[in-house]
């Protein structure tokens, strides 16, 4: 009886091109909108996970390996698997409902989330979120 599809929840996308990728809910539309008459949410996820960084790596190599590629998408609740994890990265101002209107807005939003995800990855927190789901 507790609502769990809330912002900052880590979810796994189940369908589509990004199936199997981890994402975080930025904004949820429980009752849908006029265009999408079903419950859906705006998620920001990882398109390409960062590789494993080892101690032997040089600074240049660590920088290259820690790169994250992101996506922003509106996903139906049915195509998500919620998890017990959360990721509190502040994405509310960059990822908005209208940033999916045009290609360049989408690209700038992805670039900003990439920056925020990369700095979170480098701190070593939320390690589960940045590891690839094996299936």
């Amino acid at each position: 009886m507790v609502k769990f599809l809330k912002p900052n929840k880590a979810v796994i996308v189940l369908q589509g091109r990004y199936a199997g990728r981890k994402a975080v809910i930025v904004r949820s539309f429980d009752d849908g909108t006029r265009d999408r008459a079903y419950g859906h949410c705006l998620v920001a996820g990882i398109k390409k996970y960062p590789s494993k960084v080892i101690r032997k790596d040089s600074a240049k190599k660590t920088a290259k390996k820690s790169r994250v590629k992101c996506f922003v998408k509106l996903v139906n609740y049915r195509h998500l698997m919620p998890t017990r994890y959360t990721l509190d990265v502040d994405l509310k101002d960059i990822v908005t409902a209208d940033c999916l209107q045009s290609k360049d807005k989408r690209v700038t939003a992805s670039k900003e989330t990439k920056k925020r995800f990369e700095e979170r990855f480098k701190t070593g927190k939320n390690r589960w979120f940045f590891t690839k789901l094996r299936f």
């Binding site: 009886m1 507790v2 609502k3 769990f4 599809l5 419950g39 919620p82």
Partner: protein, 112 residues
């Protein structure tokens, strides 16, 4: 010994309570609507039949854990659960949204 005696009596009482919910309360039957009721935080108790596929059972239990909703593993298969609901079809899982006059929500989750 005690468990065997207990299950017969409580099993009947669960059936009685379910019948009362069917008559006076709100419920949904079936996997898709159960997940829907959990997502919208409307479900108050989930009942799963014992021959539910294990992946589906774990998925419903995980959603219920996130939603903090009780899950009851019904002592019978989907045919029995359908009969207990008074339906002529099989029911693998059901979600009780509003118990009506029944006290199923207060009395049942204790044994899960």
């Amino acid at each position: 010994m005690v468990a065997a005696k207990k299950t017969k009596k409580t099993h009947e009482s669960i059936n009685n309570r379910l019948a009362l919910v069917m008559k006076s309360g709100k419920y949904t039957l079936g996997y898709k609507t159960v997940l829907k009721s959990l997502r919208s935080s409307k479900g108050k108790l989930i009942i799963i039949a014992n021959n539910c596929p294990p992946l589906r059972k774990s998925e419903i239990e995980y959603y219920a854990m996130l939603a903090k909703v009780g899950v009851h593993h019904y002592n019978g298969n989907n045919v029995d659960l359908g009969t207990a609901c008074g339906k002529y079809y099989r029911v693998c899982c059901l979600s009780i949204i509003d118990p009506g006059d029944s006290d199923i929500i207060k009395s049942v989750p204790g044994d899960h």
